[in-house]
Amino acid sequence: MRWLWVDQFTEFVSGRHAAGVKNISLAEEAVDEYCTGYPMLPPTLIIEGMAQLGGILVAEHFCWDKRVVLAKIGKAVFHDPPRAGDQLRYRVDLDSSGDGGATVTATSHWEGKLQAEVELMFAFLEGDRYPEQSLFQPGDLESMMRIMRMFDVAVDGVGQPLSIPFEKL
């Protein structure tokens, strides 16, 4: 099973924001089994999807040189339970970034209505405290972004398409 909780990137502006969609299917075990008789996407997996968008936004902002991990969920408010058949539209904005990490704010909308609001903090794994090895197997991150069609929509700060840094992925 692939641990991908965003189906498709729809926007990506380097250093600013990313957006994507998540289609909720009854065929997903997590949706079917989370709440018996009421198939819904668990809130934790909405956060995971936002973290995947946000983690890539942060990693690209730092030229793929940092090992980015979700470190803290500052706030998470869920207004409605998203059900099988719904399409969630996520948006993640980069709020701040520094030597040790970055923060983002994320929203989820369903049919134009605000469904969830989440604040996330990412930290960088430093070599002196954690072994120097990639968080991904060679090619896995690139494959993940291709599957999510990230490079179809990704642009830099002036609107030019982002190139794929194969040597770093």
Binding site: G74, D95, S96, G98, D99, G100, G101, T103, M121, A123
Partner: protein, 127 residues
């Protein structure tokens, strides 16, 4: 006269309320970040990012967390900061209230040293 403005305190207070999930009235100038407000190590990164954004400043890691001093055998002996080490801490952190710590400068107690007031004084030196 205070070493920082009311506006500075309010911005630091807002950052701490947001980062630590505490109430406004818990964030007093005397409150320690770890002991009184429950900050954990990962919260310090969150606090730094929020202060950097709020005050539009850069906060080098070693200025708030002098781990290089506290793990240096030149400055630490038998788990306590030496006189030389205290001088280095005072030079690095002139805004911190180190008087109490200096009476029994055990490294393990350093983490609970910083107060909200210290943080206000620190950011005042940066803006």
């Amino acid at each position: 006269m205070s070493d920082y403005t009311e506006e500075t305190f309010e911005k630091v207070q807002a950052a701490l309320v947001d980062a630590l999930g505490v109430d406004d009235d818990e964030v007093t100038p005397e409150a320690t970040l770890v002991g009184d407000l429950g900050a954990e190590s990962i919260d310090f990164l969150d606090i730094v990012l929020k202060l950097e954004k709020s005050f539009e400043i850069q906060i080098p890691r070693e200025e708030l967390s002098p781990e290089d001093i506290l793990t240096n055998s030149q400055y630490v002996q038998d788990g306590a900061v030496t006189t030389e080490g205290m001088d280095e801490l005072k030079r690095r952190m002139p805004w911190a209230s180190l008087e109490e710590f200096e009476k029994n400068p055990r490294v393990q107690d350093f983490g609970n040293l910083l107060t909200v007031g210290d943080l206000c004084k620190y950011v005042t030196t940066k803006v």
